[in-house]
Symmetry: C2
DNA sequence: GTCTATATAATGATAGAC
DNA sequence: GTCTATCATTATATAGAC
Protein backbone atom coordinates (compact mmCIF):
# COMPACT_ATOMS: atom_id res chain seq x y z
CA UNK A 1 0.00 0.00 0.00
CA UNK A 2 1.93 3.06 -1.22
CA UNK A 3 0.88 6.68 -1.07
CA UNK A 4 -0.44 6.80 -4.63
CA UNK A 5 2.06 5.17 -6.95
CA UNK A 6 3.75 1.82 -7.08
CA UNK A 7 7.04 1.25 -8.85
CA UNK A 8 5.58 0.22 -12.19
CA UNK A 9 3.61 3.44 -12.29
CA UNK A 10 6.67 5.51 -11.42
CA UNK A 11 8.56 3.90 -14.25
CA UNK A 12 5.67 4.42 -16.66
CA UNK A 13 5.47 8.09 -15.75
CA UNK A 14 9.17 8.66 -16.11
CA UNK A 15 9.24 6.81 -19.42
CA UNK A 16 6.29 8.80 -20.71
CA UNK A 17 7.99 12.13 -20.03
CA UNK A 18 11.32 11.06 -21.47
CA UNK A 19 9.96 9.34 -24.57
CA UNK A 20 7.75 12.34 -25.23
CA UNK A 21 10.72 14.67 -25.12
CA UNK A 22 13.44 12.65 -26.86
CA UNK A 23 11.69 9.84 -28.68
CA UNK A 24 12.30 6.11 -28.41
CA UNK A 25 15.89 6.11 -29.64
CA UNK A 26 16.89 9.13 -27.60
CA UNK A 27 16.09 7.53 -24.26
CA UNK A 28 17.98 4.73 -22.49
CA UNK A 29 16.59 2.36 -19.91
CA UNK A 30 19.24 3.62 -17.50
CA UNK A 31 17.82 7.15 -17.84
CA UNK A 32 14.28 5.98 -17.26
CA UNK A 33 15.38 4.04 -14.18
CA UNK A 34 17.24 7.08 -12.81
CA UNK A 35 14.27 9.38 -13.28
CA UNK A 36 11.97 6.82 -11.69
CA UNK A 37 14.41 6.31 -8.80
CA UNK A 38 14.60 2.57 -9.32
CA UNK A 39 17.26 0.24 -10.66
CA UNK A 40 17.61 -0.72 -14.29
CA UNK A 41 16.79 -4.32 -13.37
CA UNK A 42 13.50 -3.18 -11.89
CA UNK A 43 12.46 -1.70 -15.20
CA UNK A 44 13.14 -4.99 -16.98
CA UNK A 45 11.41 -6.91 -14.23
CA UNK A 46 8.20 -4.92 -14.67
CA UNK A 47 8.15 -4.50 -18.43
CA UNK A 48 10.41 -7.18 -19.91
CA UNK A 49 12.16 -5.02 -22.47
CA UNK A 50 12.58 -1.45 -23.62
CA UNK A 51 10.23 -2.07 -26.54
CA UNK A 52 7.53 -3.48 -24.28
CA UNK A 53 7.97 -0.52 -21.95
CA UNK A 54 7.48 1.83 -24.88
CA UNK A 55 4.38 -0.07 -25.94
CA UNK A 56 3.00 0.13 -22.42
CA UNK A 57 3.58 3.89 -22.41
CA UNK A 58 1.85 4.23 -25.78
CA UNK A 59 -1.06 2.07 -24.69
CA UNK A 60 -1.70 4.07 -21.55
CA UNK A 61 -1.24 7.35 -23.41
CA UNK A 62 -3.71 6.34 -26.10
CA UNK A 63 -6.34 5.33 -23.58
CA UNK A 64 -5.84 8.47 -21.53
CA UNK A 65 -6.01 10.75 -24.54
CA UNK A 66 -8.96 8.92 -26.03
CA UNK A 67 -10.81 9.55 -22.77
CA UNK A 68 -9.97 13.24 -22.96
CA UNK A 69 -11.24 13.47 -26.52
CA UNK A 70 -14.32 11.47 -25.67
CA UNK A 71 -16.22 14.52 -24.51
CA UNK A 72 -15.83 16.33 -27.80
CA UNK A 73 -18.57 16.72 -30.38
CA UNK A 74 -21.56 16.66 -28.08
CA UNK A 75 -22.38 20.33 -28.47
CA UNK A 76 -25.49 21.72 -30.09
CA UNK A 77 -26.47 25.13 -31.34
CA UNK A 78 -25.54 26.83 -34.58
CA UNK A 79 -22.57 25.82 -36.69
CA UNK A 80 -20.35 28.64 -35.51
CA UNK A 81 -20.79 27.71 -31.87
CA UNK A 82 -20.46 23.99 -32.45
CA UNK A 83 -17.28 24.39 -34.45
CA UNK A 84 -15.79 27.02 -32.19
CA UNK A 85 -16.42 24.89 -29.12
CA UNK A 86 -15.11 21.74 -30.73
CA UNK A 87 -11.90 23.33 -31.96
CA UNK A 88 -11.27 25.16 -28.70
CA UNK A 89 -11.83 22.05 -26.59
CA UNK A 90 -9.75 19.97 -28.96
CA UNK A 91 -6.82 22.32 -28.54
CA UNK A 92 -7.36 22.34 -24.79
CA UNK A 93 -7.10 18.55 -24.74
CA UNK A 94 -3.80 18.71 -26.60
CA UNK A 95 -2.31 21.33 -24.29
CA UNK A 96 -3.71 19.65 -21.22
CA UNK A 97 -1.43 16.64 -21.69
CA UNK A 98 1.53 17.84 -23.77
CA UNK A 99 3.57 14.69 -23.14
CA UNK A 100 0.82 12.45 -24.42
CA UNK A 101 0.31 14.72 -27.39
CA UNK A 102 3.96 14.74 -28.37
CA UNK A 103 4.17 11.00 -27.91
CA UNK A 104 1.14 10.15 -30.01
CA UNK A 105 1.80 12.75 -32.69
CA UNK A 106 5.33 11.53 -33.20
CA UNK A 107 4.05 8.00 -33.54
CA UNK A 108 1.57 9.05 -36.20
CA UNK A 109 3.57 11.67 -38.10
CA UNK A 110 7.17 10.46 -38.04
CA UNK A 111 8.26 8.90 -41.31
CA UNK A 112 10.00 5.97 -39.62
CA UNK A 113 6.99 4.66 -37.70
CA UNK A 114 4.53 2.19 -39.14
CA UNK A 115 1.19 3.92 -39.10
CA UNK A 116 -1.07 0.96 -39.77
CA UNK A 117 -0.06 -0.94 -36.65
CA UNK A 118 -0.17 2.03 -34.32
CA UNK A 119 -2.97 2.61 -31.86
CA UNK A 120 -1.96 6.26 -31.82
CA UNK A 121 -3.43 6.64 -35.29
CA UNK A 122 -6.77 5.61 -33.87
CA UNK A 123 -6.69 8.47 -31.38
CA UNK A 124 -6.08 11.14 -33.99
CA UNK A 125 -8.48 9.38 -36.31
CA UNK A 126 -11.35 9.33 -33.85
CA UNK A 127 -11.35 13.07 -33.21
CA UNK A 128 -11.15 13.63 -36.93
CA UNK A 129 -14.08 11.29 -37.51
CA UNK A 130 -16.17 13.10 -34.92
CA UNK A 131 -15.51 16.49 -36.44
CA UNK A 132 -16.24 15.15 -39.90
CA UNK A 133 -19.56 13.82 -38.64
CA UNK A 134 -20.48 17.23 -37.24
CA UNK A 135 -19.69 18.85 -40.55
CA UNK A 136 -21.55 16.29 -42.62
CA UNK A 137 -24.50 17.00 -40.39
CA UNK A 138 -24.24 20.73 -41.08
CA UNK A 139 -23.84 20.13 -44.77
CA UNK A 140 -27.18 18.32 -44.85
CA UNK A 141 -28.74 21.28 -43.08
CA UNK A 142 -27.28 23.38 -45.89
CA UNK A 143 -25.52 25.73 -43.49
CA UNK A 144 -22.28 25.12 -45.36
CA UNK A 145 -21.79 25.32 -49.09
CA UNK A 146 -22.67 22.17 -51.03
CA UNK A 147 -19.28 22.16 -52.77
CA UNK A 148 -17.48 21.94 -49.41
CA UNK A 149 -15.83 18.64 -48.52
CA UNK A 150 -16.62 18.02 -44.83
CA UNK A 151 -13.66 15.71 -44.39
CA UNK A 152 -11.25 18.23 -45.87
CA UNK A 153 -12.64 21.00 -43.71
CA UNK A 154 -12.42 18.84 -40.59
CA UNK A 155 -8.88 17.90 -41.54
CA UNK A 156 -7.95 21.58 -41.87
CA UNK A 157 -9.29 22.41 -38.43
CA UNK A 158 -7.44 19.51 -36.82
CA UNK A 159 -4.31 20.45 -38.77
CA UNK A 160 -4.52 24.02 -37.52
CA UNK A 161 -4.66 22.86 -33.92
CA UNK A 162 -2.00 20.19 -34.20
CA UNK A 163 0.45 22.41 -36.04
CA UNK A 164 -0.16 25.21 -33.57
CA UNK A 165 0.84 22.85 -30.78
CA UNK A 166 3.82 21.44 -32.66
CA UNK A 167 5.21 24.82 -33.63
CA UNK A 168 4.66 26.38 -30.22
CA UNK A 169 8.35 26.91 -29.52
CA UNK A 170 9.10 28.01 -33.04
CA UNK A 171 6.51 30.76 -33.28
CA UNK A 172 7.64 32.31 -30.02
CA UNK A 173 10.80 33.34 -31.83
CA UNK A 174 8.96 34.91 -34.78
CA UNK A 175 8.55 38.67 -34.60
CA UNK A 176 5.65 38.73 -37.06
CA UNK A 177 3.57 36.47 -34.83
CA UNK A 178 1.81 37.84 -31.78
CA UNK A 179 -0.79 35.09 -31.30
CA UNK A 180 1.78 32.58 -30.03
CA UNK A 181 0.48 32.05 -26.51
CA UNK A 182 -3.12 33.02 -27.12
CA UNK A 183 -4.90 29.73 -27.82
CA UNK A 184 -8.44 31.03 -27.79
CA UNK A 185 -7.69 33.97 -30.05
CA UNK A 186 -6.04 31.56 -32.46
CA UNK A 187 -8.89 29.06 -32.59
CA UNK A 188 -11.44 31.84 -32.93
CA UNK A 189 -9.54 33.27 -35.89
CA UNK A 190 -9.22 29.85 -37.52
CA UNK A 191 -12.95 29.17 -37.27
CA UNK A 192 -13.89 32.68 -38.36
CA UNK A 193 -11.59 32.70 -41.38
CA UNK A 194 -12.82 29.32 -42.54
CA UNK A 195 -16.50 30.06 -42.01
CA UNK A 196 -16.64 33.59 -43.41
CA UNK A 197 -13.54 33.80 -45.55
CA UNK A 198 -11.02 36.60 -45.43
CA UNK A 199 -11.96 38.24 -48.71
CA UNK A 200 -13.54 41.66 -48.53
CA UNK A 201 -17.14 41.57 -49.67
CA UNK A 202 -17.48 44.23 -52.36
CA UNK A 203 -21.10 43.16 -52.64
CA UNK A 204 -20.09 40.03 -54.53
CA UNK A 205 -20.02 36.70 -52.65
CA UNK A 206 -18.26 33.47 -53.70
CA UNK A 207 -19.63 33.54 -57.27
CA UNK A 208 -18.68 31.66 -60.40
CA UNK B 1 38.19 13.72 -60.58
CA UNK B 2 35.27 11.31 -60.00
CA UNK B 3 32.16 10.83 -62.08
CA UNK B 4 29.99 13.09 -59.98
CA UNK B 5 30.45 12.20 -56.32
CA UNK B 6 33.43 11.94 -54.06
CA UNK B 7 33.35 10.04 -50.80
CA UNK B 8 32.33 12.97 -48.62
CA UNK B 9 29.32 13.54 -50.83
CA UNK B 10 28.35 9.88 -50.73
CA UNK B 11 28.46 9.98 -46.96
CA UNK B 12 26.46 13.19 -46.84
CA UNK B 13 23.79 11.73 -49.09
CA UNK B 14 23.52 8.51 -47.12
CA UNK B 15 23.39 10.43 -43.85
CA UNK B 16 20.72 12.76 -45.19
CA UNK B 17 18.42 9.87 -46.14
CA UNK B 18 18.94 8.00 -42.89
CA UNK B 19 18.66 11.00 -40.55
CA UNK B 20 15.53 12.08 -42.39
CA UNK B 21 13.93 8.69 -41.86
CA UNK B 22 15.03 7.78 -38.33
CA UNK B 23 16.31 10.96 -36.72
CA UNK B 24 19.69 11.64 -35.16
CA UNK B 25 19.44 9.08 -32.36
CA UNK B 26 18.00 6.39 -34.59
CA UNK B 27 21.00 6.29 -36.89
CA UNK B 28 24.48 4.93 -36.15
CA UNK B 29 27.69 5.93 -37.89
CA UNK B 30 28.15 2.29 -38.85
CA UNK B 31 24.82 2.39 -40.72
CA UNK B 32 25.73 5.58 -42.54
CA UNK B 33 29.08 4.10 -43.54
CA UNK B 34 27.43 0.93 -44.79
CA UNK B 35 24.91 2.81 -46.91
CA UNK B 36 27.67 5.05 -48.29
CA UNK B 37 29.86 2.00 -49.01
CA UNK B 38 32.79 3.34 -47.02
CA UNK B 39 34.35 2.42 -43.69
CA UNK B 40 33.32 3.94 -40.39
CA UNK B 41 36.77 5.49 -40.10
CA UNK B 42 36.24 7.30 -43.37
CA UNK B 43 33.16 8.99 -42.00
CA UNK B 44 35.11 10.26 -39.01
CA UNK B 45 37.98 11.30 -41.24
CA UNK B 46 35.70 13.52 -43.35
CA UNK B 47 33.41 14.90 -40.69
CA UNK B 48 35.15 14.52 -37.34
CA UNK B 49 32.19 13.29 -35.33
CA UNK B 50 28.59 12.14 -35.66
CA UNK B 51 27.39 15.52 -34.42
CA UNK B 52 29.45 17.39 -36.97
CA UNK B 53 28.18 15.07 -39.69
CA UNK B 54 24.63 15.84 -38.65
CA UNK B 55 25.35 19.55 -38.70
CA UNK B 56 26.85 19.25 -42.16
CA UNK B 57 23.73 17.46 -43.35
CA UNK B 58 21.52 20.13 -41.82
CA UNK B 59 23.60 22.92 -43.29
CA UNK B 60 23.46 21.53 -46.82
CA UNK B 61 19.76 20.73 -46.45
CA UNK B 62 18.97 24.25 -45.27
CA UNK B 63 20.84 25.84 -48.16
CA UNK B 64 19.27 23.50 -50.70
CA UNK B 65 15.78 24.04 -49.39
CA UNK B 66 16.23 27.78 -49.04
CA UNK B 67 17.20 27.86 -52.73
CA UNK B 68 14.04 25.94 -53.63
CA UNK B 69 11.88 28.34 -51.65
CA UNK B 70 13.69 31.33 -53.10
CA UNK B 71 11.50 31.42 -56.15
CA UNK B 72 8.30 31.77 -54.16
CA UNK B 73 6.35 34.99 -53.76
CA UNK B 74 7.24 36.64 -57.05
CA UNK B 75 3.83 36.20 -58.59
CA UNK B 76 1.48 38.99 -59.50
CA UNK B 77 -2.17 39.15 -60.41
CA UNK B 78 -5.20 39.06 -58.14
CA UNK B 79 -5.08 37.74 -54.60
CA UNK B 80 -6.65 34.41 -55.46
CA UNK B 81 -4.03 33.65 -58.10
CA UNK B 82 -1.12 34.89 -56.02
CA UNK B 83 -2.15 32.84 -53.03
CA UNK B 84 -3.07 29.78 -55.02
CA UNK B 85 0.25 29.84 -56.83
CA UNK B 86 2.26 30.45 -53.68
CA UNK B 87 0.63 27.66 -51.72
CA UNK B 88 0.80 25.21 -54.61
CA UNK B 89 4.46 25.91 -55.28
CA UNK B 90 5.25 25.81 -51.59
CA UNK B 91 3.78 22.33 -51.32
CA UNK B 92 5.62 21.31 -54.46
CA UNK B 93 8.91 22.37 -52.86
CA UNK B 94 8.17 20.24 -49.82
CA UNK B 95 7.29 17.16 -51.85
CA UNK B 96 10.14 17.70 -54.25
CA UNK B 97 12.70 16.98 -51.53
CA UNK B 98 10.93 14.88 -48.90
CA UNK B 99 14.15 13.98 -47.09
CA UNK B 100 15.11 17.61 -46.64
CA UNK B 101 11.60 18.44 -45.54
CA UNK B 102 11.46 15.72 -42.92
CA UNK B 103 14.92 16.65 -41.67
CA UNK B 104 14.23 20.36 -41.30
CA UNK B 105 10.72 19.95 -39.96
CA UNK B 106 11.87 17.57 -37.27
CA UNK B 107 14.56 20.03 -36.28
CA UNK B 108 12.02 22.83 -35.93
CA UNK B 109 9.04 20.95 -34.50
CA UNK B 110 10.50 18.30 -32.22
CA UNK B 111 10.24 19.20 -28.54
CA UNK B 112 13.79 18.09 -27.77
CA UNK B 113 15.55 20.32 -30.27
CA UNK B 114 16.67 23.84 -29.47
CA UNK B 115 14.85 26.10 -31.92
CA UNK B 116 16.79 29.29 -31.42
CA UNK B 117 20.14 27.86 -32.52
CA UNK B 118 18.80 26.02 -35.51
CA UNK B 119 19.27 27.19 -39.06
CA UNK B 120 16.30 25.04 -39.99
CA UNK B 121 14.04 27.53 -38.24
CA UNK B 122 15.26 30.19 -40.65
CA UNK B 123 14.12 28.13 -43.63
CA UNK B 124 10.57 27.71 -42.38
CA UNK B 125 10.62 31.30 -41.16
CA UNK B 126 11.62 32.78 -44.49
CA UNK B 127 8.77 31.22 -46.45
CA UNK B 128 6.41 32.33 -43.74
CA UNK B 129 7.78 35.87 -43.88
CA UNK B 130 7.34 35.99 -47.64
CA UNK B 131 3.75 34.86 -47.50
CA UNK B 132 3.04 37.32 -44.71
CA UNK B 133 4.47 40.10 -46.85
CA UNK B 134 2.19 39.15 -49.72
CA UNK B 135 -0.83 39.22 -47.44
CA UNK B 136 0.10 42.52 -45.81
CA UNK B 137 0.31 43.88 -49.31
CA UNK B 138 -3.17 42.65 -50.12
CA UNK B 139 -4.53 43.99 -46.89
CA UNK B 140 -3.39 47.47 -47.79
CA UNK B 141 -5.15 47.08 -51.12
CA UNK B 142 -8.22 46.22 -49.06
CA UNK B 143 -8.82 42.98 -50.91
CA UNK B 144 -8.91 41.19 -47.58
CA UNK B 145 -10.94 42.18 -44.58
CA UNK B 146 -9.36 44.78 -42.30
CA UNK B 147 -9.86 42.58 -39.23
CA UNK B 148 -7.78 39.80 -40.78
CA UNK B 149 -4.33 39.17 -39.30
CA UNK B 150 -1.99 38.60 -42.28
CA UNK B 151 0.53 36.69 -40.17
CA UNK B 152 -2.12 34.37 -38.81
CA UNK B 153 -3.52 33.74 -42.27
CA UNK B 154 -0.06 33.07 -43.67
CA UNK B 155 0.63 30.76 -40.74
CA UNK B 156 -2.56 28.81 -41.47
CA UNK B 157 -1.64 28.32 -45.10
CA UNK B 158 1.85 27.10 -44.23
CA UNK B 159 0.38 24.90 -41.51
CA UNK B 160 -2.04 23.35 -43.99
CA UNK B 161 0.80 22.43 -46.33
CA UNK B 162 3.20 21.21 -43.69
CA UNK B 163 0.63 19.08 -41.92
CA UNK B 164 -0.55 17.66 -45.21
CA UNK B 165 2.99 16.52 -45.89
CA UNK B 166 3.55 15.21 -42.38
CA UNK B 167 0.33 13.24 -42.26
CA UNK B 168 0.69 11.82 -45.75
CA UNK B 169 1.00 8.21 -44.60
CA UNK B 170 -1.65 8.60 -41.96
CA UNK B 171 -4.40 9.95 -44.21
CA UNK B 172 -3.93 7.16 -46.71
CA UNK B 173 -5.38 4.83 -44.11
CA UNK B 174 -8.45 7.01 -43.45
CA UNK B 175 -11.58 5.98 -45.28
CA UNK B 176 -13.23 9.41 -44.93
CA UNK B 177 -10.37 11.08 -46.79
CA UNK B 178 -10.18 10.90 -50.57
CA UNK B 179 -7.86 13.88 -51.19
CA UNK B 180 -4.79 12.05 -49.83
CA UNK B 181 -2.68 11.96 -52.97
CA UNK B 182 -4.20 14.93 -54.73
CA UNK B 183 -1.96 17.85 -53.81
CA UNK B 184 -3.43 20.41 -56.17
CA UNK B 185 -7.01 19.63 -55.23
CA UNK B 186 -6.02 20.02 -51.59
CA UNK B 187 -4.26 23.36 -51.97
CA UNK B 188 -7.09 24.70 -54.13
CA UNK B 189 -9.60 23.77 -51.47
CA UNK B 190 -7.50 25.33 -48.71
CA UNK B 191 -7.20 28.63 -50.55
CA UNK B 192 -10.84 28.66 -51.59
CA UNK B 193 -12.17 27.87 -48.11
CA UNK B 194 -10.03 30.56 -46.53
CA UNK B 195 -10.77 33.23 -49.11
CA UNK B 196 -14.50 32.67 -49.52
CA UNK B 197 -15.44 30.80 -46.37
CA UNK B 198 -17.50 27.64 -46.28
CA UNK B 199 -20.68 29.17 -44.90
CA UNK B 200 -23.68 29.30 -47.21
CA UNK B 201 -24.57 32.87 -48.11
CA UNK B 202 -28.24 33.31 -47.29
CA UNK B 203 -27.89 36.87 -48.45
CA UNK B 204 -26.08 37.87 -45.26
CA UNK B 205 -22.24 38.23 -45.31
CA UNK B 206 -19.91 38.29 -42.31
CA UNK B 207 -21.98 40.93 -40.48
CA UNK B 208 -21.78 42.89 -37.25
C1' DG C 1 10.00 -7.01 -5.88
C1' DT C 2 14.18 -4.94 -4.96
C1' DC C 3 18.81 -4.58 -5.71
C1' DT C 4 24.28 -5.41 -7.28
C1' DA C 5 26.97 -7.56 -10.45
C1' DT C 6 27.62 -9.23 -14.77
C1' DA C 7 27.15 -10.80 -19.74
C1' DT C 8 27.12 -9.42 -24.42
C1' DA C 9 26.56 -6.53 -28.18
C1' DA C 10 26.75 -2.04 -30.25
C1' DT C 11 28.01 2.63 -29.85
C1' DG C 12 31.19 6.80 -30.99
C1' DA C 13 35.87 7.46 -31.77
C1' DT C 14 41.15 6.59 -32.53
C1' DA C 15 45.67 4.42 -34.04
C1' DG C 16 48.27 3.29 -37.44
C1' DA C 17 49.33 0.48 -41.70
C1' DC C 18 49.00 1.23 -46.75
C1' DG D 1 42.18 9.14 -48.20
C1' DT D 2 41.34 4.49 -47.53
C1' DC D 3 41.15 0.77 -44.73
C1' DT D 4 41.49 -2.98 -40.42
C1' DA D 5 41.95 -3.38 -35.75
C1' DT D 6 41.08 -1.69 -31.51
C1' DC D 7 39.73 1.53 -27.60
C1' DA D 8 36.56 3.06 -23.95
C1' DT D 9 31.84 3.62 -23.13
C1' DT D 10 27.25 2.69 -23.28
C1' DA D 11 23.45 -0.05 -24.67
C1' DT D 12 19.90 -3.85 -23.65
C1' DA D 13 19.30 -7.59 -20.96
C1' DT D 14 20.13 -11.41 -17.32
C1' DA D 15 21.66 -13.93 -12.94
C1' DG D 16 21.14 -14.43 -8.60
C1' DA D 17 21.41 -12.65 -3.69
C1' DC D 18 18.22 -10.56 -0.29
Amino acid sequence: MQQSSDAADNILNAAEQLFALKGYDGVSVRLVAEQACVSKASVFHHFGSKELLYEAVLKRASAEFEALLGRLGGNTGNLRDRLSTFVKEHLTCIYDKPSLSHLLLREVLEPGSDVSYTKAAGVLGSSFAKLTAVLRDEKQSQTIKPETDPALLAYLLIAANVFFFQSQKFIQHMSEIDFAGDNSRYTEAVVTYLLDGVLSHSGVPADH
